[in-house]
């Protein structure tokens, strides 16, 4: 699904990430950790084409990201569900419409996914807030809306950046279960988090590998957690 071959990235100055090689197999479950500012978010952005590697090759669904124009990237993104770290929404549309946005944008009928949508909203515990506008949500509610939006189109890959940073322990377990279930359905999952207890909890349910960014490189953390 995602293959990196000696990828490096820098925001103009010094290299932030170097010599990263990795291949995410379909149906795999990965965590990504590393200290604050090490480049987790940057890595995810590379993975969904928001940033282009300064060196090396990155293939997403067997397409070199460099070969795509903006429209090509837009179409690829419909197969990737992304949870951004700073969850941004269309502040003038209610929660339901924000969650259905990936369908709207790709011209799919929202009504068709109606059942799916309602189920997803209640799973993330937002049934009561479905008609609220995003600025009226609490921090944790926003994160859950972002996760629901990433999952609505049944994407092949889910990339989530700190999806549980603002929710309490029970809720984070609930969200994790949702992701594990998706993984069992064959989706590829990559979660960036600094929350080691979340990783530990996940390992009880799923064969998850843990990647760690340190010294600008991607390393397999393995069982040493």
């Amino acid at each position: 699904m995602i293959e990196l071959d000696e990828v490096a990235y820098s925001y103009g100055g010094d290299a932030l990430l170097t010599a990263m090689s990795l291949s995410l197999a379909p149906g795999s479950f990965h965590f990504l950790t590393g200290p604050s500012g090490s480049g987790k978010t940057t890595f995810l952005k590379l993975c969904y084409g928001a940033l282009v590697p300064t060196e090396g090759q990155l293939r997403l669904f067997d397409t070199d990201i460099r070969d795509l124009n903006r429209d090509g990237i837009a179409h690829l993104r419909r197969r990737v569900g992304v949870v951004h770290q700073d969850c941004q929404f269309l502040d003038h549309l209610p929660v339901t419409e924000n969650i259905a946005l990936p369908l709207t944008v790709s011209g799919q009928s929202v009504a068709e996914h109606g059942g799916n949508l309602g189920e997803l909203i209640s799973w993330v515990g937002l049934g009561a807030r479905a008609q609220a506008l995003p600025p009226e949500l609490s921090g944790g509610e926003r994160q859950r809306v972002a996760l629901a939006r990433a999952l609505i189109q049944s994407p092949d890959i889910v990339l989530a950046d700190e999806p549980t940073g603002n929710v309490d322990w029970e809720m984070s377990q609930r969200l994790l279960r949702l992701l594990v279930e998706l993984n069992r359905m064959g989706k590829t999952i990559l979660i960036a988090t600094h929350d080691l207890s979340l990783i530990r909890a996940a390992k009880a349910h799923v064969q998850a590998r843990v990647l760690r960014i340190s010294d600008q490189r991607l390393k397999l953390a393995g069982a040493d957690l």
Binding site: A74, L93, L101
Partner: protein
């Protein structure tokens, strides 16, 4: 070209869902409406001015073309002979379109403002007048020839003093056209800036839409449609107001000066009706340009 057509179709179709995705652009939208209204109003006036100036120049040019007179000053007995000599000379002169004796009645009419309708011209030693039309003859050469052959005949092309006015009216017309272009240019500039402001104020929207896989065309469409429709509406309102205001203007009649004679006659009414569609096209192009620029810069 095909994309342009597709975009025009996009503007005209009503994809309500795509419209909802972009938030109400609030003040910039209102600004666009307001600008289009004001500019269309001004454009209608500029068009009226241009038409009036064109009419004025035409009037003056007509006047210029036929207002030279030849004055044949001669004792009553010789007047007729000398007049026909003069006519003969004029007919030989290249560039003279026509030459015609002015009748006694016409002469009386000329004098009436000063001397009343009953001046007893007959038997008076007043000169015979000949109206000369045509404006390409060589006036100086004609004068020399007349001086030699008919010393009593004086060519007075007093219409010539109007020439600078004709030029001035022509320039005024050019000025009116320039201001029409200026007005549409200013409108285009303002709408581009307003659309730019709206797009820049919605960077978050654009980021979110891109994140979930929206193409640039999809994002631009809602902005373009919105601004084009606003400009169309505003221009229609402004044009209506402008026509109304012009209809209310006092019209002082034929001889009146260019501005007191502002107004539309007959097919003139079609010109201002072009303002809204032109405004729509200007807005479409301006917003299209603005959205391409902003979306490109946010890549």
């Amino acid at each position: 070209m095909k994309t342009v057509l597709a975009l025009v179709r996009g503007v005209l179709s009503t994809d309500a869902q795509a419209d909802r995705v972009v938030p109400p652009t609030g003040f910039t939208a209102r600004l666009t409406l307001f600008t289009a209204t004001a500019m269309a109003f001004l454009a209608v006036f500029a068009i009226a001015l241009s038409l009036a100036a064109g009419q004025l120049a035409q009037n003056w040019r007509d006047a210029l073309a036929g207002t030279a007179t030849l004055r044949v000053q001669a004792p009553i007995a010789e007047r007729e002979v000398q007049s026909s000599r003069a006519l003969a000379i004029l007919q030989q002169t290249p560039g003279v379109a026509s030459a015609r004796l002015i009748s006694e009645d016409e002469q009386k009419a000329l004098l009436a403002p000063w001397f009343g309708p009953d001046v007893p011209l007959a038997g008076l030693p007043v000169p015979q007048l000949i109206e000369v039309t045509g404006d390409s003859y060589d006036a100086a050469g004609l004068r020399l020839r007349l001086q030699a052959e008919l010393p009593g005949a004086v060519l007075d092309d007093h219409g010539r003093w109007r020439a600078p006015f004709v030029r001035a009216a022509g320039r005024l017309r050019a000025l009116a056209w320039a201001s029409i272009f200026l007005i549409f240019g200013a409108m285009g500039g303002m709408i581009t800036l307003a659309a730019n402001a709206a797009l820049s104020a919605n960077v978050q929207i654009i980021t979110v839409l891109r994140l979930v896989g929206a193409t640039d065309a999809y994002i631009a469409q809602a902005f373009v449609r919105r601004f084009t429709l606003r400009a169309l509406t505003g221009a229609a309102i402004g044009t209506a107001f402008g026509l109304f205001a012009i209809a209310l203007l006092p019209r002082a009649g034929e001889q009146a000066s260019v501005l007191t004679g502002l107004g539309f006659d007959g097919s003139d009414w079609l010109w201002p009706l072009l303002v809204p569609p032109i405004a729509g096209v200007v807005a479409f192009v301006a917003t299209q340009y603005a959205s391409r620029r902003v979306l490109g810069s946010l890549s």
